[in-house]
Amino acid sequence: MEKGEVSVLIGGKAGEGISSAGQVIAHLLGQLGYRIHMHFDYPSLIKGGHNFAIIRGAEGRIGAVRSRVDLVLALDEETLRVHGQRLGDPGVVVYNSDAARYPAGIGIPIGSILAAEEAPPVMGNSAILGAFVRAAGIEWPVAERVFSKSFRKETARNLRIARRAYEASAERLRIPALGGKPLPAFTGNEAMGIGLVEAGLSVYLSYPMSPTSNLLHFLAGHAGATGIRVLQPEGEIAVFLTALGCAYAGSRAAVGTSGGGFSLMVEALGLAGMAELPAVIVLGQRAGPSTGLATYTAQADLGFAIHAGHGEFPRLVLAPGDAGEARAWIRIAMDLAWKYQLPALFLADRTLCEGMYSMDIAAAKGARAEPVMAGDDVHPYLRYALTDSGISPLRFPPVDGEVIRVNSHAHDTDGITTEDPGVTRAMADKRQRKMLGLRGDIEGMDPVKVAGHPDAATALLCWGSNKGVCEEAGEALGLRVVRPVALWPFPEESFSRAMEGVDHFLGVETNESGQLAGLVRRFGYRASGTVLKYDGRPFMVDELEQELRRVL
């Protein structure tokens, strides 16, 4: 075992509840005071196929897993075949002895336990969890508390199954309890959902698509308690236009999708820019192009997010690095979208959306940006009034005696279509002035994070979900880690401060071309190289360290 940390792999067939069992393990480690990260790997199918989750607990903040694990929990033979070589020394294997053979491991007759409880096969994951608890030296009362919370349906029967497997298991190691206070664990999707509630979201719209479908499910599940309406329209084109209809009438709306769905939304992205309508778009990247690897990760849509749409218009692009940042920055995305009346793209990826992270409970403090509203005394109200800031104060219909127009064409201050060159230019300038204020606000929000060894002259440049893996590798190898959270407008001043004293830097990205490295080159920073991964899988800590040692 690595000092101060533990890694567990659980594997089985799709439909055997691998993800939920992984979450229970994450919560168990959380109870022992660990900060956790869970990586869940599954092919695009509903039943069968091979699913696995790696759950890693550590004392410090983590956002990635290692390829080596301390325990393998195998519901089937395939798990042992595929992942046996990941086992560290001393490694522990807990397996279903009715489905596999592994003489050195702890065999649990899951089939017989389920038969004794007249339970369906899906409850086999409760058995493997019970056996894991004993093998890892976790006290039963701790496990019972976590299980009771986690097994929502058939709690009593699941607990009996877990207990039977616990009795059949044997203690092989003892995961030490740390002093830390237990923290809640959330997926990035859930964290974004929480942040959207905190942002005052009124309507959430999405057409199902991995990896943001679980954000749709999370908000739909909490719609009653949060007063958010959650809708699934006929496609992404309708999704985004409906959000813009909400914005026109004064309601905060957000949408969630992946690259394919965002491609369809791009038609109306320019409408949001031209008509100056706020909306938050959660773009959960997955491996493309086209359908690509539907359930695997990538960071290949940065250039797309920054440049999508014909014509020129202001927008905001943010990329959080973990669940805590996702929660905090999505509120900022919503607030700034409304202050500046523009579309805000929230760039996540499969790793962040469906990975699980320990999250601090307290919400980020800091003043909220407010929309600029027109007073009742302004007559006539002009939706696109020219101002120094470029922000035209808002009103929403109905207002007696006023006509409120928004327009996809070039338009005058009243929203009426124009082809006049002077008005066209004045309105373009007005929209671009918003970018100045937005950039200023962003620069004040600590938009470029520095971690690892902040004074090191060699740096890693990364973004989004590579936060965790790069910070650990940077720490281990004595490197500075520079990571912009705000990507457009690009926070040039903050970036320049973060790069002070850097002699050379490597771009670490989950794409084929080094898109952030390409972006910073526009501002005069040239990477000395890149470490890229584009096989749909996230970097693992040991893998990245090894690669960096090779190239540095």
């Binding site: 664990a185 949060t226 329209p233 409408l271 008509a275 338009h411």
Partner: protein, 284 residues
Amino acid sequence: MKGIDLISHAKNTWCPGCGNFAIQHTLKDLLAGMDGEGFPVEKVVLVAGIGQHGKLFDFLSVNGFYSLHGRTIPVATGIRLANPDLRVICVTGDGDSYAEGLDHLVFAAKRNLDITVLVHDNRVYGLTTGQFTPTSPYGFRGHSTPRGDTEHPLNPLELMLASGATFIARGYTGRREDLKRVIREAFLHRGFSFVEILQICATYNDLTDYYNERVYPWPEDDTGDRRAAAEKAAEWDYSADARIGLGVMYRRAAPIFEDGQPVPPPLTPEGREAWVSGIMNERI
């Protein structure tokens, strides 16, 4: 309010004799006088697509959202979600409702969204200077089909009936009083109301004589009878020669989409904090 107050200062750019004038003045007259019927003009939002019809957005002094080609209905859906007090009228064309945005039309009917859709069906693309549309007759010769269109038109009335629309009517710009009556009834219908308006295009498709010789009023004592409605819809297939019925074709009462999506009271900051801390505790 007088109808004239609803004409904006924007310069009108339709061709002389355009069928859109009839629709503009019909709307102006109706909107100026429906306060007492729960349709106050301040609460009206006109959502326009792209095409000659869309210019109504500029020419009328009414709240409006000038959307994209084919994309009026999703915008209307958002407006209704945000504020169900607003009365939303989509003005669209045959290109932008039956071609580019057909899926939205079908889904709005399926949901019984409480909006009115007015389709300015001149059966030709005017703004792009004379190509065939989904309702152009078989053999239509336009700039893109000089040897004649080889596709048969779709029948919007049958499409809407099959999609679950709860109010379906057809008007004609050459019959102003009848047009005004059916649009008024569409406004007052609770649910998805669809008015297919046969509109002449003075430049590219002037069917004035053709329509005048064939139109007749439908009997309206059987508008709740789906089978009778289906027969009326099938009477003219938008291509072969037949009589062309006008009026309300079908209507029925049904729960509206918005009934299932009531606007909940917004969470107070304290309520929001309580929800967040609840979900945190659940996960520890």
